[in-house]
Amino acid sequence: MELQLGLALPTPNMVKGFDLNNHGLDQLKEMGGLEAWNKAAGCFADKDCVKSKRSFEQAFGNFTEECRTKPLLLWSGQPNEEEDHKDQKKATFSTTDENDAEEDDQVVGWPPIKTWRKKIFQQQQQRRVGRAENNRVAENENGRSIYVKVKMEGVAITRKIDIKLYHSYQSLTNSLITMFAKDKKCDEDDYILTYQDKEGDWLIAGDIPWQ
């Protein structure tokens, strides 16, 4: 059955559905509305409406017949095969929000850690680094690591690395390839390392000595 995305003009039936809580509406005026919520919930809690899983059409059929509130859309319940939801999913996944005010170009709000906690964590990290207790920056001379964001073309999530850990462009490149290999199969030769200098120009890495 074709799903009917075309949303019809309100039919008398639909209007009736919304008048379900007529009784509720009177009381709404009197009682300020809280009871009407209970009534609506009552309709939904009605065991006849919600069935345990049989075939989807059956469950849906019961829903429209017995539940007095009409849905706004009649739907066969079959996912529309024309839409490629996987692509859609990827598309949303790869969108990084331009409004992300934070330093890192991570997916906004993921992982779900409260802003407050993130702030504290960042402050602590800076202080920790200063104390040179962090194993990951053990090779530093002056104790401060330099974190840079690295993005690979075609991969959504940027990574953050401490370039103080590397001694040469080659080791950096190798490490990056390994890191990104998880997301995308890549050949070493296919990729070029570029970086953005203070003026915002993109330059190919390797022209200037590592130091």
Binding site: F93, T95, V108, P112, I113, K114, T115, R117, R136, M179
Partner: protein, 587 residues
């Protein structure tokens, strides 16, 4: 109840009976019995909880409940905690304070969560409520120490001032000194969110020393370690304490002073803070560990061996918050030592790094589920998981009420089988029949939502991210979860069909927030049009939704039921319908 009996009880008797009924739900039921009970109940209701400040207007609340003493309001939706709701969206408390200032002179408790509170609001509170006792501002923003100074100066009977996780601007005023010398009523003070400039230690010391009823004290980070001992000696009756900066070079005199101070605190049951902790100082708390029921080490960068040592001293622990430095080995130690554990939260020490920097896997959680039979509430960040582990956890802990799992990398599959986690989460909802809160993560298809719709009958709050294949997923949840109140979804391919089919369901819920999903503007318009008791807000900072191409989906959609009608304080990036049933720019 037979009519005769109802009429034979006088109003005073009924009112007295109702005074024993504290829960909002029960009160609501009582008020629906008959008109006279409704009348009696509304005059004697003292506590109001408004889960969404836009669901009802202050005038409506005041009209129905004229003698309220305590109010709790929540503003922004939960996803705002993760920057998913743009600044300026709303949640302003001033209109409420303004109305209540006139109507409730005896209001003594205000609890706010995720609201915008201004200094003006705080000054109004200080001025208007003569017997003001409790102010809780959880995850609020918009005020400064000026506002706090007004509260300190005027509220002679203030018992509780709790600013947990709020953002406070430093106006450089020494607000703590504004508590008069005659003020002695503090019972609970939480200023852990304040920055370094905002608390004068000597003022704090004086305050603590003259408040004999102080039970809970949560200090901010800037107070140095050697001062902690001073504070504790002034308040040995503390039950809850959050330490200040817990780092310093190890000095034996400071250590023994601290250890001595802690050992005086016989009532101490809950410890938190431990910012920048130096592990060598941890043994200073060993004397109180055996009595501790709650320990929050989630800001402490101490590693597994020290954590294991600490945890082994705490057999009475019921609640533990910790970083993933605890590792599987630490969680195994927890499982064998802390048999009363009810709540566990494990946060990631480095959430943005792809590679794990601590050996914490699903094994740790499985160990705890096996060893801690009273486990009820779990929040767990990890980088790998298996369906087998989830099934085991579900079987071990049928009493779980809250289960929030965050597998850090989106769309991660079962590391053993490569499968989605449908079966694992399915087991959770099937076995844990009292589950009220669930957060999903990892690779998930529509199947998991079918399980949730089928089994999670008591579920009240569901958080979904990067999951599902089609509208069927959302439809399963909306049609099956009878107790659902809050639903928050991001980056899922859920769209118009499921939403419109289940439009009526939305009126039975507090709210639905969908971010980066597949809902079209047309559907939003239709929903607005057909459901007058829903506020449908399209939150889109990219510009007028009408101007975008037809197939463009809305950025964020926030739908909530309301008897107050549309709100009038919307910022330019929030779009709703107007009388002409077309979306327009809000005023």
């Amino acid at each position: 109840m037979p009519k005769r009996l109802a009429y034979s009880l006088s109003d005073e008797v009924l009112e007295h009976v109702f005074s024993f009924i504290q829960s909002d739900k029960d009160r609501n039921v009582v008020s629906a019995v008959c008109k006279s009970w409704y009348e009696i109940e509304r005059w004697c209701r003292r506590k109001i909880f408004v889960g969404n400040c836009y669901a009802v207007s202050p005038k409506m609340v005041i009209r129905r409940f004229p003698q309220v003493r305590s109010i709790e309001l929540k503003g922004k939706p939960h996803f705002a905690d993760f920057n998913l709701v743009p600044d300026g969206w709303g949640g302003y408390v001033l209109p409420w304070i303004t109305e209540m200032a006139g109507a409730y002179p005896w209001l003594d408790e205000i609890r706010l969560k995720r609201m915008v509170v201004t200094d003006e609001s705080l000054e109004l509170i200080a001025k208007s409520f003569k017997d003001f006792k409790v102010l809780v501002l959880a995850s609020c923003e918009g005020f400064s120490t000026d506002g706090l100074a007004a509260i300190a100066a005027s509220c002679k009977n203030l018992r509780e001032l709790d600013l947990r996780e709020s953002e406070v601007d430093d106006s450089s005023v020494h607000w703590l000194s504004h508590f008069p010398e005659t003020y002695t009523s503090m019972v609970s003070l939480n200023i852990s969110c304040l920055g370094s400039g905002e608390v004068s230690f000597s003022a704090l010391e004086r305050l603590v020393s003259r408040c004999p009823n102080l039970r809970s004290l949560k200090l901010n980070r800037a107070v140095p370690l050697d001062k902690t001992a001073n504070i504790l000696r002034l308040a040995p009756q503390l039950v809850e304490f959050s330490t200040c900066t817990y780092s310093a070079e190890l000095r034996s005199d400071v250590f023994s002073n601290l250890a001595g101070a802690f050992s005086n605190c016989k009532e101490l049951r809950s410890l938190s803070g431990f910012w920048d902790v130096v592990p060598d100082y941890l043994p200073a708390i060993y004397s109180v560990c055996s009595r501790l029921t709650s320990l929050n080490l989630s800001y402490a960068t101490i590693h597994s061996p020290d954590l294991i040592k600490l945890v082994s001293h705490c057999p009475s622990l019921q609640r533990l918050l910790v970083l993933d430095y605890i590792e599987d080995s630490g969680l195994e130690a927890l499982a064998s030592n802390c048999k009363d554990l009810q709540e566990l939260r494990v946060f990631p020490s480095d959430p943005f790094d792809v590679e794990p920097n601590a050996s914490l896997t699903e094994q740790g959680l499985v160990a705890v589920s096996l060893g801690c039979p009273k486990l009820q509430s779990v929040l767990y960040f990890c980088r790998r998981m298996s369906n087998a582990a989830l099934v085991t956890i579900a079987q071990n802990c049928p009493n779980l009420t809250r289960f929030r799992l965050c597998i850090i990398e989106p769309n991660t599959a079962d590391y053993l089988t490569g499968e989605p986690f449908d079966v694992g989460f399915g087991a959770i909802v099937e076995h844990c029949k009292d589950l009220i809160r669930l957060s999903l993560s990892g690779l998930l298809t529509d199947c998991v939502f079918e399980y949730i719709g089928k089994y999670a009958k008591k579920l009240e709050m569901l958080s979904v991210a990067f999951a599902g294949d089609s509208d069927l997923g959302l439809h399963h949840v909306l049609s099956g979860c009878e107790s659902l109140r809050k639903l928050e979804i991001r980056d899922c391919p859920f769209g118009d069909k499921a939403l419109l089919t289940n439009a009526a369901k939305l009126e039975t819920m507090r709210s639905l927030l969908m971010s980066s999903c597949s809902v079209s503007l047309e559907a939003c318009k239709l929903l607005s049009q057909k459901m007058p008791r829903l506020n449908v807000e399209v939150i889109d900072e990219r510009g007028p939704p009408d101007s975008r191409p037809k197939n463009c989906t809305v950025d964020k959609l926030y739908i909530y039921r309301s008897v107050a009608g549309p709100r009038f304080d919307m910022p330019p990036f929030v779009w709703t319908k107007d009388e002409d049933l077309a979306l327009r720019l809000s005023p």
